[in-house]
Amino acid sequence: MRRFWQNDCCGLQLVHKRFSLDVPKLNDMSARPKILLLDDEQDLLDMYKEILAQLPSHPEIHLANSGARAIALLEAEPFTLLISDLRMPKMDGLQVLSIVRRKFPDLRVVVMTSITDEQYRSRAYAMGVDLFWVKPGNGEEMKMFQDCIASLLGQDVQSGGFRGVQSKGLVDIIQLECLSRGSSVLKIVNGTRDGRIWVCEGDIVDAQCGDLSAHAAFKEMLSWRTGAFEILPADLERTRTIFENYQGLLLDSAQSLDEAGDSGEPSPGGTPLTGLAALSRVDGVEFIVEVPTNELETVESWGVKNAEPYAKWTRESWKSLCELGEKLHVGDPVHFHGLGWQGHVGLDAKDSKQIFVGFARSLNSDQIREKMNLICSKWVS
């Protein structure tokens, strides 16, 4: 039995290696990992931003002070890691986690909270977080926290992996299940998708995933790089639709995935940034809305879930200022920004469009003016 295991492992490593070859292609993220920090306390956000900026990978750090804003940012562009507080007004951390798990299954998630209640820890892990961390209280804890985040960022760039078996691919999980010659049903979840693989005495007998079944379903699930799995009680009466042995099946599926990878499918991480996303690179920018003067044209936005109220305000305010400039004979407005306790905003216009930019609260008036000038020069060009 032991010998069988060793021999099989050698063969299986080959399978896994083939499967891993296309991982860098599928995960062609930029060199700097991106972290989204979510906490309702701005001071803490600023502090953790400074701390995490010291990591060896020099991550790009974005801040969000509400769950809604965090989700808007996640929708706008891919992130490597989300670090979230639990106790927040309106949408608490657990609510954010449930949305994040469903909509962004690839995202690594760390909960960082001052709540030490074991119940919340269990609930957070049950929702698939990678790490539950009580807010560091001293220098040593902070160092450990930095090390853990650095390790997690490294894992993400290198491997992906299924939650529950850290850094293991689905291939590894199926191999382990088949090698044990056991019988079970593997339930695999990837975001809103899920599927099942029926294993009977070490053989894969059937697979089901949405409308797909048998080989097609198995291949589909094998293409999921991350997700969560659960081992359900065996269903020995399941009708057999797959007759190949599991090694042949894995090799076949891995080959199909290799071919799919070579066909040049765009990777989510490698999607080129759109115009507004490129403007958002300016430090301190939280969101951008591009507003056509014509209300019938589409409003473009980055980092904001519902841009319509902002677009309406932008149109009306800019129009009002132009009218005021005309009445006072002082010319058209050349610069406009506003400061608020939630965040600051800047507004400018060119031809038939206005640009409305949200800035972090930590910026002062002069910095906003400077950054608006920079954004406008890039926007126009």
Partner: protein, 104 residues
């Protein structure tokens, strides 16, 4: 003489309002509470400025982004407004391209 009078006509100039520095305080209804602007500055223009500023503050609040301060710059005038419990204190500062704007 008539020809000289033609070139030195000042009718249009008399209609021009000189921009003045100063501040006004308005309540949430737009009623002027205090003003440091000279009497020569037309009240209608003061009301025009204050009503638009109050509307921008009010609309920003309705759009879920409450603002406490506005900085509006025109080629010849800078308006700074601070929200005061529904009202506002508004500072006017004429500017010229030759004179660098304060704070920039």
């Amino acid at each position: 003489m008539g020809l000289l009078n033609f070139f030195s006509k000042t009718d249009d100039v008399s209609n021009l309002t000189r921009l003045s520095s100063g501040s006004i305080t308005v309540d949430s209804e737009g009623t002027i509470i205090t003003s440091t602007l000279p009497r020569s500055f037309p009240e209608m223009q003061v009301e025009e400025i204050s009503s638009r500023v109050l509307k921008i503050f009010k609309d920003a609040k309705e759009a879920q982004m409450p603002l406490t301060e506005l900085i509006l710059e025109f080629p010849a005038l800078k308006i700074t407004a601070r929200e005061l419990r529904g009202g506002a204190i508004i500072f006017l500062a004429p500017s010229s391209p030759k004179v660098p704007k304060s704070g920039s």
